[in-house]
């Protein structure tokens, strides 16, 4: 295979994979922190893209749009946790699934009504730049996606290891009662967890928008996030990142060699195979179950 095409596919695969990794990170963060698997997470990605769209209509520069979106998303995450997620904290899995799906549906409907069915897109910060490998050009937005994703992952790692709040969030995720006994205000940590989770989702939305465009169906990326998270073991943050990158690369190369059908089906085949062969993912440890 020609080097140029290989690089083009690799960059696109890692770029898309970074998006999947971000989606998976947000999902797993909220799941570990609160025990709620948020099926509305995909629609939070769409929410981020739409917020950025409205901010960019105000003719703000890109970095203001980006930071503004993250801030608005974080506030939205807190509100979401306070109003809708809080009653679900100790609910059975079925209730959580159905309720969060309902929340997602409402967000999606609201987004669609806000912009009608029009297709929109965001400008990319690297719009004028061209990247060429040999005679093949690579979309520069992929580099921006990868760079931003790496930055946010490093930030998150530092946040969880070095800051008190981050450590408190980790403690709550490990053992809620023990954390409470150690003086962590668990009820303050939950909204914070959702703020981080929603902001990461919104970041994924802002980053992917220049490539896929903005529509209310963007939320379906949640399935890819699930697959990435399951590949990574569903309880490990580095696992999510690797899972997302593996999925994105496999999908992109598979699609180039075997056509679009293969690309669409890869994620689900991978999902079923991993769950059957290695249900704890590549990184996850075995999980004990209480009977």
């Amino acid at each position: 295979m020609e080097l140029g095409i290989f690089v083009q596919l690799l960059v696109a695969g890692l770029g898309i994979g970074s998006i999947y990794a971000l989606v998976a990170l947000g999902l797993v963060l909220a799941f570990k922190g609160t025990g709620v698997l948020n099926f509305a997470h995909g629609d939070l990605v769409a929410f981020g893209a739409y917020v950025a769209l409205f901010l960019s209509l105000l003719k703000l520069p890109y970095w203001q749009v980006l930071l503004g979106t993250l801030a608005i998303a974080a506030v939205f995450g807190v509100l979401l946790e306070r109003t809708l997620i809080r009653p679900l904290l100790n609910a059975p899995a079925f209730t959580v699934v159905v309720a969060t799906l309902a929340i997602g549906l409402m967000i999606k409907n609201a987004l669609r009504l806000s912009w009608q069915e029009n297709i929109a897109t965001l400008p990319s910060p690297l719009d004028g730049v061209t990247v060429r490998v040999g005679d093949v050009s690579v979309n520069p937005q992929y580099f921006w996606i990868i760079g931003c994703s790496i930055a946010i992952m490093i930030l998150l790692a530092v946040f969880f290891r070095r800051t008190l709040i981050g450590k408190a969030m980790k403690a709550v995720a490990q053992n809620r009662d023990a954390a409470r006994l150690m003086g962590v205000r668990v009820n303050r940590v939950f909204p914070l967890t959702f703020a981080v989770s929603t902001a990461v989702a919104a970041l994924a939305g802002v980053l992917i928008a220049p490539i896929t465009g903005i529509q209310s169906e963007m939320g379906s990326v949640i399935i890819k996030g699930f697959v990435a998270a399951i590949l990574g073991g569903f309880n490990s943050l580095p696992g999510c990142v690797v899972g997302g990158l593996v999925l994105g690369t496999l999908e992109t190369f598979g699609g180039a060699f075997f056509g679009g059908t293969f690309k669409d089906v890869t994620a689900f085949v991978l999902l079923i195979v991993v769950l059957l062969v290695r249900p704890n993912g590549i990184f996850g440890g075995a999980e004990a179950r209480r009977v």
Binding site: A93, A102, I223, V265, F268
Partner: protein, 337 residues
């Protein structure tokens, strides 16, 4: 399976004939209305009523799986699609009679229910929800990618069946066919729930470990639940294709699956009557709210949240609650005097 679940059925058997008779008496009025009223209504009402009954069939099947056996499924729309496409393909392209094609659709859906049930044995809760969502996406992609069978994204047309040599193009005639089949489906579900298999469903929902320790075959029971729910959805899909006359992949997405779940949650989990009430009410409601069509998902979403939080037993759970509230009120009144 009847011999394989040796659980003691505590003294219910004696009460069944009386209960059955009471059940029949309660059912008589709705059945009489459903049979006698439609000839006096317009064709649009026949269409909506048929749609409601098709949703009843799917909801009854899903409720056995989710409400009774306790397994989450977000992919009833896929089984519906399998039934619908099989029926359309066999009738229009192969030339098979509808009365063979439609049950084949149900059987194929049931077969794929086994295929899904096996991996589903290993998952519970969130994982099961994710796996069934994945299954839904796969079937939708396959429908789009196999245009020679399914017509791809452009869809495929389906025709009305012939009965006794005449085509059922009349909505009223087709309504009676749907009505008969849904009645059969409801009766089967009620009988099933009274059988050892039905009791095994309830048992594995309450505690898999306890059910297993009593000798219930967990794997077989779970797969049976998946297969039955898939069969109901497949039959519903076959009827749906014929009623609407045209199907495309958009009909069978996540939204449709969520609607099926809304039916049983709003109606009442684990109750056949709940499935019927939920499906009928929530098929008719959007028709009444046609002016607000774009807010449809919003209405369904908020309804679902409200029901989950305020009345987890659904509409059928309201009856006993209202009765006990009235009794308490009466007691208070008496005490005050």
């Amino acid at each position: 399976m009847s011999d394989s679940a040796p659980i003691a059925v505590p003294a219910v058997s004696g009460a069944v004939p009386g209960k059955l008779a009471r059940g029949l008496r309660v059912a008589l009025l709705p059945i009489a209305i459903a049979v006698l009223l439609p000839p006096f209504l317009g064709s649009y009402y026949h269409f909506v009523a048929s749609l409601a009954l098709i949703n009843v069939i799917i909801a009854v099947g899903l409720n056995l799986l989710t409400g009774n056996a306790g397994q989450i499924s977000m992919c009833q729309a896929s089984f519906m699609a399998i039934g619908a496409y099989t029926t359309s393909y066999l009738t229009t392209k192969v030339g098979l009679s509808y009365w063979l094609a439609m049950p084949s659709g149900g059987l194929l859906a049931a077969l794929l229910g086994v295929a899904l049930g096996f991996p589903a044995l290993r998952f519970r809760g969130f994982y099961l929800a994710v796996v069934t969502l994945g299954f839904l996406e796969i079937t939708q992609i396959l429908v789009e990618q196999l245009p020679s069978i399914t017509g791809g994204v452009r869809g495929i047309s389906a025709s009305r069946p012939y009965l006794f040599g005449s085509k059922l193009s009349n909505d009223l005639a087709f309504y009676y066919v749907v009505f008969a089949i849904s009645l059969l489906g409801i009766w089967c579900a009620i009988s099933l729930l009274r059988s050892p298999t039905g009791r095994a469903f309830d048992a594995i929902r309450s505690s898999e470990a306890a059910a297993q320790s009593l000798g219930m075959p967990l794997a077989r029971t779970k797969i049976a639940a998946f297969v039955i729910a898939a069969f109901y959805a497949g039959i519903g899909g076959g009827l749906y294709a014929s009623l609407v006359g045209f199907i495309d992949p958009l009909e069978f997405g996540v939204w449709t699956s969520i609607r099926h779940v809304v039916f049983i949650v709003v109606g009442g989990l684990g109750s056949v009557v709940g499935s019927i009430v939920g499906a009928v009410a929530l098929t008719v409601l959007p028709e009444l709210l046609r002016g607000f069509k774009e807010y449809n998902e919003f209405v369904f979403g908020s309804l679902l949240l409200l029901v989950l939080v305020l009345m987890p037993t659904g509409l059928v759970g309201l009856g006993p609650r209202v009765r006990s509230w009235l009794r308490r009120r009466a007691d208070h009144m008496r005490d005050d005097k």
